[in-house]
């Protein structure tokens, strides 16, 4: 079950598509559900499937196909570092080392205090700001330096 606020947001998305095409809102619905719950459990995905009138398997397919959905529980904050070519040229490997050392975990892992999950990302379409990362999917931080990373980590309690 999702909160009335999330449901209202999903309804707004459904209205963007022709009446018989509720399934088109599945990507937004999963995003909205994830913002509320932190990750997409089977229960949450089943709820979305029911709400949109889709087979549950079709929802699981979408949730596992797109990279930004969390299909397992994770730390309080997710940091996705772009390591693709332009970011790599501008020092993403050093930033990656710094993050791994600070958090004590590698890509795809969660820090021991459960504050952070670190992920490796692909090009985010913002290579002019390289190197960069995404925080919890919806906030981008560019021109990363080890110092800037430290202050971001500090701020994210």
């Amino acid at each position: 079950m999702l909160s009335p606020d999330s449901i209202a947001q999903i309804d707004y998305e459904i209205a963007k598509y022709p009446v018989n095409q509720r399934q088109s809102a599945v990507m937004s619905a999963l995003r909205i559900a994830q913002v509320e719950k932190g990750w997409l459990s089977t229960e949450t995905m089943d709820f979305v499937a029911d709400y949109l009138g889709m087979p549950a398997i079709a929802v699981y397919e979408v949730a596992t196909f797109y990279n930004m959905y969390n299909t397992a529980p994770l730390g309080r904050h997710k940091i996705t570092l772009c390591t693709n070519i332009s970011c790599a040229l501008m020092g993403a490997p050093e930033i990656a080392e710094h993050l791994k050392e600070k958090l004590g975990c590698g890509f795809g892992e969660t820090s021991e205090d459960n504050r952070f999950t670190l992920k490796e990302g692909e090009c985010m379409g913002a290579c002019g700001d390289a190197p960069l990362c995404m925080i919890n999917n919806h906030r981008m931080e560019g021109f990363l330096t080890p110092e800037k990373v430290d202050s971001i980590l500090e701020e994210l309690k």
Binding site: M68, S86, L89, H138
Partner: protein, 424 residues
């Protein structure tokens, strides 16, 4: 990051809050839409104007826009759709984000003009997942345009109606492929469809659909307002207009630069502050990660347009210029790119699903000192067997960089294999 303004799309970026409707209108915005609506300009006239402008698809393929528009069935009873591909995820590409960020109404007006021309009443703008703030900006711009009567029912008091909606992606490079993008809007995995049928006959929800890139749509208001001829003359024959070039990598001032088509590459490099201080220019990937790499000497002779870069053996692509200096190991660079295509292959076609894994693993072992002498032939063979054997272009996109790297930098790969380490 630097933004260099220009005549067509970044004409207002120096103004405060350039993204606001009021700024746009005060600088000639929505005049083109108003004009065609009040004069009831025919679709043929508009398409002829777009053809005259020599505007070519800015998403990477460079297909003539006017011609694409003429494929759309004009007299078709039932729904037709207009779709904007703002799913830019090709490494090195970051121009559409700035268009939506700094001049979203140029995109909206361009789409409204296209909708009027093609007889579509509904459109979707598919935005790359990782740029949430840009999605929010577009949502706000659509609301502004609706409130001002430039979108919705009875636009500018006429009987023309067009409803535009933003669709937010959530992280899949393949959705930049137009039919995968349509699948994605339909709420499915983004797996490309067989073509034909092409979207102009069987597109979104199985209906006729025209898909263009963000920059392509955003160029339309200028063409209608100032005329196709003027746009054409900004660039060069067959390569009309200005174009946004995204310059990233080893330059002093990375950024987006709106310059005329045909601008010498050397000038663009200078605008980006030149190669980062104390280093020398080694190589350039001129149009996004899937376009073949070119050595500095060749690149310095090019002008920035479709024809010149094609003649040099690469492609202008989306105008995504990745600059590498002498510190870059080409084996390592290719390893990262191959990993990307391996990771992003949708898995439908065997040559791509398996082949991208082969490419990555072989390059990975070369990079890590375990390469074998026969590996270079193996790489060419695998790349050759992916190219042209898949439903969509991702397979080719994975194969092309490999072939170009081996052509120009074979010695670096050989050195890795022979000595187990890097030569740079």
């Amino acid at each position: 990051m630097v933004i260099k303004g220009g005549e067509v799309i970044f004409n207002t970026v120096h103004l405060p809050e350039s993204w606001k409707l009021s700024t746009y209108v005060a600088n000639g915005g929505y005049a083109a839409l108003r004009k065609i609506l009040s004069e009831k300009t025919s679709a043929e006239t508009i398409i002829a104007e777009v053809k005259k402008s020599a505007l070519r698809g800015r998403g990477g393929a460079g297909f003539p826009t006017g011609l694409k528009w003429s494929f759309m069935p004009r007299h078709f009873d039932g729904d037709k759709y207009l779709v904007c591909n703002s799913d830019e995820g090709e490494p090195g590409t970051f121009k559409d984000r700035d268009i939506m960020q700094l001049n979203p109404h140029a995109l909206i007006e361009g789409m409204a003009i296209a909708a009027y021309t093609l007889g579509t009443r509904r459109g979707y703008n598919y935005i790359h997942g990782e740029i949430w703030e840009t999605y929010e900006r577009m949502e706000a711009a659509v609301e502004e345009a609706k409130a001002a009567g430039f979108l919705g029912d009875n636009i500018c008091g006429t009987d023309f109606s067009f409803h535009l909606f933003n669709h937010h992606g959530y992280g899949a490079y393949i959705c930049g492929e137009e039919t995968a993008l349509l699948e994605s809007i339909e709420g499915k995995k983004g797996q490309p469809r067989f073509k034909p049928p092409f979207p102009a006959s069987f597109g979104l929800y199985g209906k006729p659909t025209t898909i263009n890139n963000t920059e392509t749509f955003a160029s339309i208001p200028y063409i209608i307002r100032e005329g196709g001829q003027k746009f054409l003359e900004l660039g060069k024959p067959n390569n009309g207009g200005t174009k946004l070039f995204s310059v990233s990598g080893h330059v002093n001032r990375p950024g987006n630069f709106e310059v005329p088509m045909g601008t010498p590459f050397a000038e663009l490099l200078e605008m980006a502050g030149g190669i980062r201080d104390g280093h020398t220019f080694k190589a350039c990937i001129p149009g996004g990660s899937s376009t073949p790499v070119l050595p500095a000497e060749i690149m310095m002779q090019c002008t920035m347009d479709y024809d010149s870069i094609a003649k040099a053996g690469s492609a202008l692509g989306a105008g995504s210029v990745i600059i590498m200096d002498e510190t870059v190991c080409m084996v390592k660079a290719l390893e990262r790119l191959s990993y990307f295509y391996f990771e992003e292959s949708c898995g439908q076609c065997t040559p791509c699903r398996e082949g991208t894994g082969w490419l990555y693993r072989v390059i990975h072992r070369i990079e890590h000192g375990q390469g074998r002498p026969e590996d270079l032939d193996l790489l060419s063979d695998v790349a050759h067997n992916i190219g042209g054997r898949t439903i969509c272009g991702l397979g080719d996109a994975a194969a092309m960089p490999v072939q170009a790297m081996l052509k120009h930098y074979r010695h670096e790969f050989e050195h890795h294999i022979e000595h187990g380490k890097c030569m740079v």
